[in-house]
Amino acid sequence: MINILCVCGNGMGTSTILKITVKNICDQNGIEANVESCSFGEALSYITTTDLVLTSPEWAGMLPPNDALIVETKNLIDKKEVAEALINALEAHFSQELSK
């Protein structure tokens, strides 16, 4: 089980779409994941229990200090781009989650 946090500006529109996309990607690849979404202002309260943060470069620079793996992609609503970034990051850092 991997905890993924999707972050955008207000934690409403973009991060929700991103959350839906990420859930789909995880389902399709058989990855067990817990996906949450929030604004970067609220990220502090989620980030201690998060393994991987998915956001755009703009917000990534403003996240509070944390130990999670930060994955950035510019177009947060493009499924292909998000899938590529997410799968690459999982292969590199959480390969045990993929092999299940």
Binding site: C8, N10, M12, G13, T16, S39, M62, K74, I77
Partner: protein, 450 residues
């Protein structure tokens, strides 16, 4: 027997927003062939979300209302706050006062559903309608559907079915037409196939058309220039909301004077007799109002996330070729500097607008809010900068800030709410739509309902 079953269905189940939302989400999950257990979890979360939103909203409306009462007692000026979600819940409250608790939200949710279906139909008939965008920003949809419902009910005084239908038609046309207008400019900015579906599409489109006449994007594109990083904290929604609240409450304190501050502290006001120091009391109010908004947002997020999952799935299945309309923030990563630029000049425009209200002795005063200030001006700034450079963006966003204030005053005057959207389209296009319904209502001599 039959009557009591019908009564149970209509009033107790389909008339209770927390159950209605749960049922819609449940059906959405099942339609997308998800597991029943997942559907139950989603439905329960949506249900809790509706109630959490209500908690935040009623606290916010009550606390903010006390502040407005103090302002009115001291100066005779009617106040209103600018923020999207409380405008929806304040509309619900107005309808509930006349029609019974839960009616406003119920009608609003039906308008949302019918509006979404109509949007899909308009896109399915794109050969004739030219509408290609499906509006998927659930958080904005529920607000706009709720406000439309209140506009139609207020001025036409009709029952549920015609109110919902008329409100849904107007809203669906707004969603479809305005998001379709932005498909081309959005593509030029992002190189991706989506469009903006939010609350400033109409003004963004104007900015896209006007900006090239005000400057040149070739030499003045701010995205190619350097900008100080220090301003980035202003984009933190919670900090910025608190900051705007703090400044607004400070101004209100200065205007209302000691007597009304004492009233606010007392049992009839906010009942904080322990906070004797005025500055501590002021900070308490600013932080409390922000906390109320955070609770409200959390609730909205809980059910909107579930709702959007269904909407997106249904739209992709039924209309694979449609362009997805999403929240304006999806653009921000493509033009981060325009975002800050738009925010700064939008704020300048709103300050000029507020000073204008004082100068012209307007009987209505507004308290700005973070959502209309930030998201609208950032988005309009992105379009203006892309097609006319930063000078064009500065001029357009300053003007937009002023229009947001003056247009909202007109809307508040017609709607008599303690909150208004304040967003760009709701200070321009929607003011005209409200005026239209008001005119139709008076033409037929219909008394204004609540």
């Amino acid at each position: 027997m039959f009557d009591s079953i019908l009564n149970l269905l209509l009033k107790q189940i389909f008339g209770q927003p927390f159950l209605l939302m749960a049922i819609i989400v449940f059906i959405g999950y099942i339609a997308m062939k998800q597991k029943v257990s997942k559907a139950f979890v989603g439905a329960l979360k949506a249900s809790i979300g509706i109630l959490v939103m209500g908690l935040g909203s009623s606290a916010l409306i009550s606390n903010f209302g006390k502040l407005l009462t103090a302002l009115q007692n001291a100066t005779g000026i009617q106040g209103a706050g600018l923020n999207t979600y409380p405008t929806m819940t304040a509309s619900y409250e107005k309808m509930d006062e006349v029609l019974g608790i839960g009616t406003g939200a119920t009608w609003g949710i039906y308008t949302l559903l019918v509006g979404f279906i109509l949007n899909l139909v308009l896109v399915a008939l794109r050969k004739f309608t030219k509408i290609r965008a499906v509006y998927l920003t659930g958080n904005a949809m529920i607000v706009q559907a709720g406000i439309s419902t209140y506009i139609v009910w207020r001025f036409l005084g009709l029952g549920m079915l015609p109110t919902v239908f008329i409100a849904a038609v107007v809203t669906a046309l707004y969603w479809g037409i305005c998001s379709t207008l932005l498909i081309k400019p959005t593509k030029e900015i992002t190189n991706a196939d989506f469009t903006v579906a939010h609350q400033q599409m109409f003004v963004s489109y104007l900015a896209y058309k006007v900006a090239p006449k005000l400057g040149s994007s070739e030499k003045d594109d701010i995205e190619k220039k350097k900008m100080p990083q220090a301003l980035n904290f202003l984009q933190d929604n919670i900090i910025a909301t608190a900051l705007v609240m703090f400044i607004s409450v400070t101004i209100i304190f200065l205007v209302i004077g000691t007597e009304q501050i004492e009233w606010l502290r007392g049992a009839e006001g906010l009942n904080q007799t322990g906070l004797l120091n005025n500055i501590v009391f002021l900070i308490w109010i600013a932080v409390t109002l922000t906390a109320n908004i955070v609770v409200l947002l959390y609730g909205v997020r809980m059910f909107v996330g579930e709702l959007m999952l269904s909407f997106k799935g249904i739209s992709e299945r039924l209309l694979p070729g449609a362009v997805a309309g999403v929240d304006c923030a999806a653009l921000f990563a493509f033009a981060p500097k325009s975002v800050v630029l738009g925010l700064l000049f939008g704020a300048l425009g709103q300050i000029i607008g507020l000073l204008g209200l004082l100068l012209f002795k307007s009987p209505i005063f507004l308290v700005p809010g973070f959502i209309p200030l930030f998201f609208d001006n950032a988005t309009i700034g992105i379009f203006a900068n892309k097609f006319g450079g930063w000078k064009a963006a500065a001029i357009i966003c300053t003007l937009n800030g002023m229009i947001q204030i003056f247009g909202s005053v007109l809307a508040v005057k017609m709607m008599e709410l303690s909150w208004w959207q304040g967003s760009a389209d709701y200070a321009t296009l929607w003011v005209a739509i409200i005026a239209f319904f008001k005119f139709i209502g008076s033409l037929f001599g219909i008394p204004v309902a609540g």
